[in-house]
Structures are given as C-alpha cells and as structure tokens.
Subunit: 287 residues, 2 copies
C-alpha cells in the first residue's frame, strides 16, 4: 500500500494510495480522507458511478469539510480493475469504470472483474492493516452504479455497516438497461446469480436486522425513469416490512452538483448511526 | 450569451455560458453560480490559475454552499482566449490557459490575448446585461496566476471592487520565472509596461483609497519560494503605508484542497465588505 499523493485539507489529509490487488490481478488506486487527529476513525466507504475513478468524489463532492468536523474518514475505491492487461469495452457502461461491484463469471471479464470480493474481503483487510480506520465503525454510501454497490454490499453484509445511503442508485439492475447489459456480460444468463446483486431482491430476501437505509434522488435526474426508479426499492422494502427513507429533491439532476448539495446530510446520517457524538478539535491552520 | 449548461446546486444554479468575445476574437465560456432567489446578487469574480478553465473552481472549490447561504453570485471567466485559431505554446505556462490577465502587445499573441480588456470592459458589460448580478456590489478573488489577476485588476480599478482576496497569488510577476516568461512573450521588453501588471508595483503606486486586501498562502506550497513570495507584497504594502492581511496556513500546498479548506473564510470576508448582512431564504429542496 504505497502512498502516492497527499494534500492537507480541512485540517486533515486527502491521501491517495496504490497497491497490487491479488483479487483483481492488477494495480489499483484508493483515495482516503483522514481527519485531523490520531484515529482510528469511523470510516465511510464511498462507491462511485459509471466512468468514475477513486478521485471524482474526492475532488467534486466537497465532503471533506463535514467529515473533518465529524472526525470521519472516507474511503473511496476505484470502480473497476485497471491497466493495459484488463479487458475493456468501448462503451462507457461496460468494462473499465463500470465494474458494477460484482464478481464476473464469464470470459473475458472473469479474470480481473471481481469487485465484490475486492470490496468485501481484500480491501477491508488492507484498510484495517494500513489505514487509521476503526473497522468496528463502518458505513457505506455511493452514487448511481455506486449506489447500487452501496445497497447490495450493505445488504450482503448487514452487520458490517452501521448505516447505508445512496444518491440516485440503480436499485433494480435486473430490470433496467444499464444493469441488464452489465449483468449479461459479467454474469451470463443465470437469473439466480443476477438476483444476488439486485438491491430490490436483497432487501426482500435478507433476514435479520438491517442497518438504517437512506435513498436520495433528484427529481430532475435524466436517468430517473429509465435506469433508477427508486420507487421499486421503496415498494420492495414496504412489501417485506422494512422501513427505508427515500428523500426526493425537486430540481436536482444526476451530477456532482446534486451530491455536493446534500452530502452533508448523508454524513450526518452516518455519523449518527456510527455513534459520532461530538466534533473533534479543529486541525492546525483552521481558525 | 448562450446558456449551455445548468445544474441545481445548493438551492441555486450552477450555470455555464458561451459567447463570442469581440475583444478576444473567439468564443469564450463563462461559469456563473446564481443563488436561490430573484437577485440581482452581489458578485464575486473568481480568476483561476495556470492550466485552468472557467470550470476548475466550479467543480473543485466547494464554494457554492457558502455562496448560497450568503446570497452571492460567483462569476468565473476562462484564463485565456480559446479555439483553433488562437496562438498557443506547448508549455503549460504560456498561451492557452495562461493569459496572465494582460493585453499582449506582440505577435503572435496580440491578436487574441487581451484578457485585461476582456475582464475590465467587455465581460462586465455583458454580465450587467445578461446576468442577475448587481454591478454596484462586486468583489474579486483568484488563485496563483488568478491571484495575480485579482490583485492587479483590483488595484487598477479600486473603486469597482468592495474587496480583493487571493490564494497563493503571483504578487511580483516582474521578478519571478512564471511572470518573466509570460511578460516577455506577451509584453516585450518595455519595463514600464511590465510594471503596470505587477501587484507589488501597483500597491505602491496607486493613489487614493484601496479596498481591503486579503492574501492567503499555504506554507507547504511547492511554488512559494520561487514563484509566489507573498512577503514581497506585504513589504510593498507596508512601505507605501497600506494595510493588507497576509494569512499563512501551515501544511497547506498549492492545490484546490487548500482552496476548498479556506474559501468559506474568503466568502465571509467579501460578504462583509459587500454589505451582505443576512442569509436569504433557503432554496427549495434544502432542508
């Protein structure tokens, strides 16, 4: 885990690391915001959307201010395996930048595209070993394809996360074009396997206690009707006796301007469930 | 002035416009944050640094949250003329993305590189005509080359701006490599002309009342010793009986992570001098 970049930011540090992933069989970058102080810090996982790397959220969401105030770390993985030897597709919604947080089962994807195992097993172990984070206090969030990732990974490991949130998530990948295309390529035609990665199916089928779930959706999102349909998740939750919060934002689209506008609310939501009770001392250089 | 992009952001709108500049003889883009409400709004000009366009500050600084709260518009011009017919250089610090906020006087630059006139005359007139801004309440800020721009344009028109601030500005372009290279190319070897665009010279030579000036500088800035040297500006101010504020930030570098960490303080500084006294109603969609 090599530190390749670091910038002081709101009294803490915005860092970027590179490591060789055994799971993905390639070099990966990971971004980490570390607040001021000694740690270990409660940690929010952020999963990004189609075309993104680990850096989009870091540069565009403006989350560090509130995270510094709350004393929370934010861990941002990349969205797919990377490198010259990794299979890719010309389309923006398949291949690099579009890993969909699943383990692929077919050629040419299966060799490297194992984002589920990377994020459920390899990267948490590395984070615990190398980062000043408290793995007993994790939460997860994401945007669009990364919202699908946050919901599905969160529902697969409900005891790991204190809370789950998502901005404009793909909640029903088995029913919408983005998900059908990716799942056909990565998973083949086994319907049971598709269902393992569908948040609507998972909330209906997961037993036991679930963490609090917050879904955020802009009403002027250009992908709302065709790709996102958060009402499907709300309905699946209600049908299975689960309570989730779905907050609609009139006028907001799918962009990072929308995420930036509401990320503080999500950080406060996660802080509450992570048991973050007060602000830490401000970092030096902040008045 | 064509609206080419708009995103709802913190209850307001982040807009981007395109227009044909008569001064620069090319098409230019301009970004504008407009807070919620009817306006006209007090307006902060933001001038960006080398390699930037009108979009870097918009996506990376996280300024919209505080600007929305204060009811301030933020107007971000590009940093040079643009387009296939515009002279350029392979280096990052000359030509496109490096206009240095002066009117060039030599070939091949003089035909298009007239950023001083564009920003002092053409764009203010267009802003007054097309944007919901109150031209009686303007302030100016910028970063690095744009800090040089904010200081020099502010000192050339001291009655136009209620306040001036700069992050890591080039305060003495006639004395440092970036400025010498650009001024040699754009202005030739007329020393008096160079001095017209040197903030240290301007603060010593401008008569009458000046707006309050805030200089912000990261102490871990990789360009501090060779290119920036804010102490030269502080010394020039003291020698000429002017008071300026120079705030040093231990540990901070030249990046937008540094700007994001302190932009709220600059917005509050400008709001105070613009006479912004209270928060406007929050926009819809904000809780």
């Amino acid at each position: 885990m090599d530190l390749i970049d670091s910038h002081m930011c709101f009294g803490g540090e915005q860092r970027r690391y590179r490591h060789t992933s055994e799971t993905l069989k390639c070099d990966m970058t990971v971004s980490l915001f570390v607040p001021h102080g000694a740690g270990p810090f409660p940690v929010l996982w952020w999963l990004s959307g189609l075309t993104c790397t680990d850096e989009n959220f870091v540069t565009k969401a403006g989350a560090q201010r509130k995270a510094a105030e709350l004393g929370m770390a934010i861990l941002c993985p990349d969205t797919s395996p990377r490198g010259d030897g990794v299979a890719d597709d010309e389309a923006y919604d398949l291949g690099k930048g579009a890993g969909f947080y699943v383990d692929a089962r077919q050629s040419p994807w299966a060799e490297h595209y194992r984002m589920e195992t990377y994020l459920r097993t390899e990267l948490p172990a590395l984070a615990e070993k190398f980062f000043p984070v408290d793995m007993a206090r994790q939460a997860i969030s994401g945007h669009s394809m990364g919202g699908h990732g946050a919901l599905t990974l969160g529902l697969k490991d409900p005891k790991r996360y204190a809370s789950i949130s998502a901005f404009a998530p793909i909640v029903a990948p088995t029913q919408v074009p983005w998900g059908k295309k990716a799942f056909t390529a990565y998973l083949g035609d086994d319907e049971a396997e598709w269902m393992r990665h569908d948040a609507c199916h998972l909330i209906a089928s997961t037993e036991g206690e679930l963490p609090p779930i917050l879904i955020d959706q802009g009403e002027a999102d250009q992908f709302l009707a065709e790709q996102l349909q958060p009402d499907l998740f709300k309905a699946a939750a209600i049908e299975s006796g689960r309570k989730i919060d779905l907050v609609l934002r009139p006028g907001y689209d799918h962009s990072y301007f929308y995420i930036a506008s509401f990320i503080d609310e999500h950080l406060a939501f996660h802080a509450k469930h992570l048991g973050v009770t007060s602000s830490p001392p401000r970092g030096r250089g902040l008045r």
